[in-house]
Symmetry: C2
């Protein structure tokens, strides 16, 4: 039997309004399309629908930009109200350039615009990352267990840019139920070498695996990863954050 | 029918020696395990076996470090012979620290040690990236077409670290037969917004999707991605290289 796994998009979820309980919608949509959730599944859920369900939407016409946001907006040529929203999510600006603001979020992610974006939401509305995506993932996992009796793993994912390489890739911004990092420290390879410090960000790899079926238009905001190996654990996304003391690109 | 694809490890390849023709081994191994190559498959092939087949192995006892390599080796506390090999693959040093050398390769990839590594090879041997991984991917694709009559897509993949996030992820270092970037420029989302400049590095996402079945110990150096959407094209990996003028983290 070859080692294999499957990546299955969950279609037919309705438009998500603030306050909605996502889990029964996910369970029902997966069942309706003939791929009900099963033991061992890992779910990758788009940050966007989690944020919508949690009401993390801001109407720009209700935002008064601070003097700092107004000045920065001029420098980078962006809407000052949007800059104000981004700064509210920001611990530190890492880089700025025309049209671009790379920041560290309060959680510690380094990404464009603190994850704030305006696609797939009403005009003049901005969508923010969940306040605590790990808590969101834990909540989904708990509720899915109540509804199905299954102990699943959950990733909340968003598309982030990277230095040096073009194109966004889907990465984990929150997770529950599994070890996000697989470590090969100290194992020996077939040639008898001890492998040194080889750690793989399996949570990010599985988030990336989900994206090609999601599509950027968010019509498929939930993906089932079925049959992949992952290590059950009461873990969150913090092991994916590089300690600043070990980071050469702050 | 839900949108789905499958990730299938190809097991049972022999140890790869320089000069070996990989393609018939891949075709045969996939057939033997009951998952013969099929139309629409995209193959993710570990850089390591491609490099071995191409003889990109260097015995360190035959390397005489230059004065520059010897001095740098002291600064970063690494084997001067290994540093000499790395510098031969290097266009520019991006960062250096104790034990760490982040460089830009002649191809343009920015990664640790120019992709040179010592796992899964004989003691005192270093394995280099293929001279031209895109040419390697094209060669594999052509030979696989001769053997099977199938027009496949091919990714040569290696695990790279990233700034800000812990853990390596598998990325494309060479490819053939498909567009590595999917662009949503100008499309409208369900809310009627025109999406701006949303480009996704699908080649890197599919390389990452393959890794969880490969394992770092390289016992499964070939993975079939079956059923994923990709756009056929005579393309290579260059669209994944960010132009230095657009890169804020050089």
């Amino acid at each position: 039997m070859p080692t294999r796994y499957e990546v299955i998009g969950v279609e037919g979820l309705p438009e998500i309004a603030p306050g909605i309980d996502l889990s029964p919608l996910i369970v029902e949509a997966a069942r309706r399309q003939g791929t009900p959730l099963a033991a061992g599944d890992l779910l990758v859920v788009s940050q966007k629908i989690v944020s919508k369900a949690e009401g993390r939407l801001v109407r720009l016409d209700q935002i008064r930009p601070s003097a700092r946001a107004a000045a920065l907006a001029v420098e980078i040529d962006r809407d000052p109200r949007l800059v104000e929203v981004i700064l509210g999510e920001t611990r530190r600006i890492v880089r700025q350039a025309k049209g671009v603001l790379i920041v560290e979020t309060h959680h510690g992610w380094i990404c464009a615009n603190a994850g704030v974006d305006q696609s797939n939401v009403d005009p003049d509305t901005a969508c923010l990352l969940p306040v605590d995506s790990d808590a969101s993932a834990r909540g989904l996992r708990r509720r899915l267990a109540e509804l199905t009796g299954l102990t699943l793993a959950v990733i909340i994912a968003d598309t982030f840019g990277r230095p040096w390489r073009e194109g966004l890739v889907n990465v984990a911004v929150g997770l529950a139920g599994f070890e996000p990092i697989v470590s090969y420290l100290g194992e020996t390879d077939p040639a008898g070498h001890v492998l040194q410090a080889t750690i793989l960000a399996v949570a990010d790899e599985l988030a990336s695996a989900a994206e090609p079926v999601m599509g950027k238009l968010d019509r498929i905001p939930v993906v089932i990863i079925r049959g992949a190996r992952w290590t059950p654990a009461e873990a969150d996304s913090r092991p994916l954050l590089r300690d600043p003391s070990r980071d050469l690109f702050r």
